[in-house]
Each structure stands twice: as structure tokens, then as C-alpha cells.
């Protein structure tokens, strides 16, 4: 689904990613763990096309396409979704309208028919209910006045509605209490299947108890320094990064 080779990227001339190699096959969930400043968020932004990040080398192929050459909206329409670490507030933009605009923009880009207001609301209400979100969250402005947990749930709601092929979850667990964490994890697990892959970026083992990954990678200094099965996350939890990052030892 996603194949990253030798990806290097910088911000303002400062190298952050120093040659990432990562393959996420269809249907698999991979986790990336790593200390602060290791490049986790940068990787998610480079993959989703945020401005201000310079790609200095390497490739990233998503569903057979060179995504680094695509606009952010094209990447989204191709099936890439980023759940933001800090979801952005959009005052004056109604959440339901936002979701419908996004969904229909993607459907249009893919040559599919648009959903009308009735079809859309039915779908949105079903998904919101599944995430234990009150209906009024659809009526409010996007993320405005939402608690930290509500914002993260709203990200997962968007993901559930947009049905991406690959979701990057950037520290979706941060700021969540255990109940919200479970709801979010269930939202992700509900999407799991042969057509859905995920890259879960997290500091903590906790989230990975609920979204059990197929593979775990440790990112340090802009490189993947160790990969393994779910047991790697447990080892990190027990021994810290020092146990697996040679430079930090």
C-alpha cells in the first residue's frame, strides 16, 4: 500500500528525516514509536503534503502513485488520511458541512457521484453514534470548543466517513482518557480489513494494546533503527528507547 525508500526531508535547511525505509502492505497496521524530535510528525506531514517541508531525496509510493508529487487534496482523494495530532479549529465552518464537502470533493475527484444532504446525514449520524459522539457535534463548528478527546474523536469520525486506504494517526492517543482511547481504537479497528492500512504514531504502548499492530518500528534521528512485531512495543515500554537505540545507549 505504502512504500517509502530512502526518504530524506528537512525544514528550513535542517535535516529531520535521514533516509526512511518503510513498507506497509495492504491490510496491515504498523506502529512508529520514537522519542521526541525523532521525526515522527515530520514523516506524517511529508506524507500528507504539508507546506514548509523540503523533500531532499527518496521516494514514497502510495497505491502505485508517487504521492510526493501530488497536492494534499490529491493524496486525500487517492485514499490517504492524516489524523492530526492537533486537530485544527475552523470557526465559522459547520462540522457536517465540512465533512460533506470533504467527502464529496474526494468522490468527485474519483469520478464517483456526490452524496446528497439526506444520504450524507444518515451516514454521518450512524458513524457519530458508533463513536459515541452526540449529534450536536455535527452541528457545531469544526473542533471549536471541542475538548481534546472530542477533537480526536472528530478525527476518527472523519476517517470513518472518508474510508481511506491508509490512515496515519499522529499521536491520536495524546490527551485521551482511557474511555476515549478505547472508543478511538474501536473506530480504527472497525476499519481494519484487506483494503485498509494504518500507520500509528505514538509515544506509548497503551494505544497499541487496543490497536494491535502487525509491525512496530522505532524511529530515531530520522531513521528507522529497529523493527519488530508487537512485542517490540512491550520491550520499549519496559526498557525505554535506550535499550533499542544504539546512539542513545
Amino acid at each position: 500500500m505504502l512504500e517509502i525508500k530512502g526518504l530524506r526531508a528537512s525544514i528550513d535547511g535542517k535535516a529531520i528525516l535521514n533516509g526512511i525505509d518503510l513498507v506497509i502492505p495492504p491490510g496491515e497496521v504498523h506502529a512508529i514509536m520514537g522519542p521526541n524530535g525523532s521525526g515522527k510528525s515530520t514523516l506524517s506531514y511529508v506524507l500528507s503534503g504539508r507546506e514548509g517541508y523540503e523533500v531532499d531525496g527518496g521516494t514514497a509510493t502510495f497505491a502505485g502513485q508517487d504521492i510526493l508529487a501530488m497536492e494534499p487534496e490529491e493524496r486525500a482523494a487517492a485514499g490517504l488520511f492524516l489524523a492530526f495530532q492537533y486537530p485544527v479549529e475552523l470557526p465559522g465552518v459547520n462540522n457536517a458541512n465540512f465533512l460533506r464537502t470533504a467527502l464529496n470533493a474526494q468522490r468527485r475527484a474519483r469520478g464517483e457521484g456526490e452524496l446528497d444532504a439526506v444520504q450524507f446525514l444518515k451516514l454521518a449520524r450512524t458513524e457519530a453514534k458508533r463513536l459515541s459522539m452526540p449529534d450536536d457535534m455535527l452541528k457545531r463548528n469544526v473542533n471549536v470548543g471541542f475538548s481534546g478527546g472530542e477533537k480526536k474523536r472528530n478525527e476518527v469520525l472523519q476517517m470513518a466517513m472518508l474510508r481511506p486506504k491508509l490512515a496515519i494517526l499522529d499521536e491520536t492517543d495524546s490527551g485521551l482518557d482511557i474511555d476515549a482511547l478505547k472508543i478511538v481504537a474501536e473506530g480504527v479497528n472497525a476499519l481494519r480489513g484487506p483494503g485498509f492500512s494504518a500507520l500509528v504514531i505514538t509515544h506509548y504502548q497503551r494505544l497499541l494494546d487496543h490497536i494491535v499492530p502487525d509491525r512496530v518500528h522505532v524511529l530515531a534521528n530520522g531513521r528507522i533503527v529497529k523493527s519488530g512485531g508487537p512485542e517490540l512495543a512491550h520491550a520499549l515500554e519496559a526498557g525505554g528507547y535506550a535499550a533499542v537505540i544504539p546512539e542513545a545507549a
Binding site: S48, G49, R50, E51, E71, P72, E73, R75, A76, A77, F81, L82, F84, P87, V88, L90, P91, G92, V93, F98, T101, A102, L103, A105, Q106, A109, Q158, L162
Partner: protein
């Protein structure tokens, strides 16, 4: 020796030309000739607002002074121009090049409308506002609207259509709401080409009456729109307005609202959406002259190209006006590096127990918000349109007249399509 030149000379020459026009036609101009003669004397001595006047510092009238405007004649609007009046339920009062056009207008029910001569009223102050003196001197027509006590007059669509002849017109409207009356006035200034539209509207809002004044200025690309509104609001009355500026080459809307009785309120919300080298100025003077009065101003500017937006908001609180609640916010979204916003808030407070706040912000579209939308699949152009519309929402959302708001939304969307 050479003739004096420069902006002041141009303004003087323009004022002289208007006065000459008045003298040539004064016997045929309808309405109170005494009021008119007094105004002519003012124009002859004071001329037009100049760049050295504080109130006109940001809006130089030189381009206006250098243009020439013939007196307006009776004209017929094109079908295309007529079609720009949105389909809103209500009584239409249509003015073409400043003259009332009865065939295009409806018949009011339950209240009185008089046309055929300027409705001078008694609220305007030609001695203080030079353009009001100009209007008074040359006004030829207008609507006098009188809504009796306790009457809901529904919606009036007051449409000014300019055919694009290089003419100047100075309509003069006076709107009276007796106690407890209500009226929504949809005030449209639409046109093509180059001309001068210099209307004056005065509102007398009696106790407990509410007038909702929803304005759309979408004049021709070469037009000058210089309008002045006076609203006098008695106890418990409300002057509730929203003004959308889209058109014109050089535009100024000046609003004087006086809260004369306790619990009177004024809402002076506005949005100015400008492009190319357009210049538009929204100037308000709100006077709190009684206790427990409230004023609200949310003014939004979206500026592209080399356009320039001006907001001047003055709040005066008299000593007697305790418990005044005044709020003023002016925000500008600059979509191009050449666009410019000038903002001048002014508070003069003589009472000691008041709540007055004001603020101003100028910025570009938020890069994080733009990326958030795009990351969800929304194309950049659409994402920008969404954020611009969101920026305007605080000023637009309070409009409760659904049809009028929908028409304004459509006008904004059309502006967005044709901008740059």
C-alpha cells in the same frame, strides 16, 4: 501665473460645477426649495470633503473630483440589470438613475410611501457633512416611507439601478417607523459603468420600533458610491443593519446612529469584499445619548488585488448614557500583498459606568486551516472559499431574514468567482 492645481483645486472645481448645475436647474427641482438653497450655499462655501479633513484622510475624493457627472435623465434599465434584483418577497420600490420608476415598483399595503420628490426629513445635517449638503442641493427624488404605530410593514426592496450613463444622482429617502412598528428594508445599489450615486437615507425609529436595514452595494466597476445614513432610535427601538460592499471604484458608506432613548440598540455590521484597485470605506458614528443603550459593530473586510479597505468607527457615550454597552470589531483578511486596510476606532466616553470594547485584526488566510481542509480532499480554491466565507460568518450569521441572507451569500459567491 498658472491656475491652481492639485487635489484641492480639483475638489473646488468639482464643487463649483455641482453648484452651477444647481443654479441652472433650481427652478425645476422638486421639493422644498428653501432647504435646497441653504444646502447650495453650504456647497458653494464649503465645497467637497478634502484630504486634510480627519474624517476623509483615508478616502481621498480626488478621483471623484476629476470625473464629471451630468444630471440624470429618465432611463430604462436593461433586462440584465433588472434581473440583478434578487427574488425576495416584498414590495419593490425601484429607482433608475435616481428616479422613481413606478412601472417597476409595487404598491405598499398598510403603510404609506410617497415618491416624486426628495424626502428630506429633518435628521440629516448638511452643515456638518458636505456630501449631505451636495445631496440636499441636487436631490430630485426619493421615497418617504411611513409605517404607522404597531404595524409590521414586512419587507420593502428599495432598489437603485444605475444604467451606466455618466450621470450623478442624489436620492433622498426618509423612513419613519412609529411606535412598535417593524420594517425590513432591503437596500440595493446596483449598476454598470461609471456614475455617481450619492444617496442619503434617514431613519426615524420610534419607541419599541425595529427597522432591519440590509444593504448590498454592488455598483458598476467605475462607479462612485457615497452614501450617508442617519438613524435616530427612541426608547427600546432598534436600528439593525448589515451592509455588504462589493462594487464601485470608490465607495464610502457613512452611518450616523443616535441612540436617543433608554434601551435603544444599533447593529452596524458590514462586510467589504474588494479587488483590483477598488477603494471602500465604512465609517460609523454611534452616539449613545441615553442609559442602557447598546451598539454592536462587526465589520469584516476581504481584500484582494491592490484594493484598499477603510473602517472608521466612532463611539460617543454621553455623560447621561450610563450602562452603555458598546462593541466594535473590525477584521481584515488580506489575500494579496498589495491590499491595504486602514482601521480607525475612536471612543469618546463621558459616562463612568459603561462597557465598551473594540478591536481590530489584519491577517492572511491561516495556513494550518488551509492545509487541514486540503488534507481532507478539499481542493485549494474551494478551501480558500470556505475559509473566506467562514471569516464572514460572524457578520452574516446574525441576519435573520433568510431570503436576504441567501441573496447576499449568492452575491458573495459570485464575487469570489469573478475576483482577481
Amino acid at each position: 501665473m498658472s491656475a491652481p492645481s492639485g487635489p484641492l483645486a480639483a475638489l473646488k472645481a468639482a464643487a463649483d460645477a455641482f453648484v452651477a448645475d444647481y443654479h441652472a436647474r433650481k427652478t425645476s427641482l422638486p421639493g422644498d426649495s428653501h432647504v435646497r438653497a441653504e444646502a447650495a450655499a453650504l456647497v458653494a462655501t464649503q465645497g467637497l470633503p478634502g484630504p486634510r479633513e480627519e474624517a476623509w484622510r483615508y478616502t481621498p475624493l480626488r478621483p471623484f473630483a476629476e470625473a464629471q457627472f451630468a444630471p440624470a435623465r429618465r432611463a430604462e434599465p436593461s433586462a440584465a440589470l433588472l434581473a440583478r434584483i434578487p427574488a425576495i418577497a416584498g414590495t419593490r420600490l425601484v429607482f433608475v438613475d435616481g428616479r422613481f420608476h413606478s412601472e417597476l415598483s409595487g404598491v405598499p399595503e398598510g403603510y404609506r410611501v410617497t415618491t416624486g420628490e426628495p424626502a428630506f426629513g429633518h435628521l440629516a445635517r448638511p452643515a456638518e457633512e458636505k456630501l449631505v449638503a451636495l445631496n440636499t442641493m441636487l436631490a430630485e427624488d426619493g421615497a418617504a416611507i411611513h409605517v404607522p404605530a404597531g404595524t409590521d410593514a414586512g419587507t420593502i426592496i428599495l432598489a437603485s439601478l444605475a444604467t451606466g450613463a455618466a450621470v450623478g444622482f442624489h436620492p433622498r429617502h426618509h423612513i419613519v417607523l412609529e411606535a412598535g412598528a417593524t420594517l425590513t428594508l432591503i437596500d440595493l445599489a446596483l449598476g454598470d459603468g461609471e456614475y455617481l450615486s450619492n444617496p442619503v437615507l434617514t431613519f426615524e425609529v420610534a419607541a419599541g420600533a425595529t427597522v432591519t436595514h440590509l444593504r448590498t452595494q454592488d455598483e458598476g466597476a467605475g462607479a462612485f458610491h457615497l452614501s450617508t445614513v442617519y438613524a435616530e432610535v427612541a426608547e427600546g427601538g432598534t436600528y439593525d443593519s448589515f451592509a455588504l460592499t462589493l462594487g464601485g471604484k470608490l465607495a464610502r458608506m457613512e452611518v450616523h446612529a443616535r441612540l436617543a432613548g433608554p434601551n435603544a440598540a444599533a447593529h452596524l455590521n458590514a462586510a467589504q469584499l474588494l479587488g483590483a484597485s477598488q477603494h471602500a470605506d465604512f465609517t460609523t458614528i454611534v452616539r449613545h445619548d441615553a442609559p442602557n443603550t447598546a451598539s454592536r459593530q462587526t465589520v469584516k473586510n476581504v481584500l484582494t488585488g491592490r484594493s484598499r479597505g477603510v473602517f472608521q468607527g466612532k463611539i460617543e457615550v454621553a455623560r447621561i448614557a450610563q450602562k452603555t454597552d458598546g462593541y466594535q470589531m473590525n477584521q481584515a483578511l488580506l489575500l494579496s500583498p498589495q491590499a491595504e486596510m486602514d482601521s480607525k476606532p475612536q471612543l469618546q466616553i463621558y459616562a463612568d459606568d459603561v462597557k465598551c470594547s473594540h478591536g481590530a485584526t489584519v491577517g492572511a488566510l491561516d495556513a494550518d486551516q488551509l492545509f487541514y481542509l486540503r488534507s481532507r480532499g478539499v481542493p485549494e480554491a474551494e478551501a480558500r472559499a470556505i475559509l473566506v466565507r467562514a471569516f464572514l460568518s460572524e457578520a452574516l450569521d446574525p441576519i435573520t431574514h433568510e431570503e436576504a441572507r441567501a441573496a447576499m451569500e449568492a452575491a458573495i459567491a459570485a464575487w469570489w468567482e469573478r475576483r482577481e
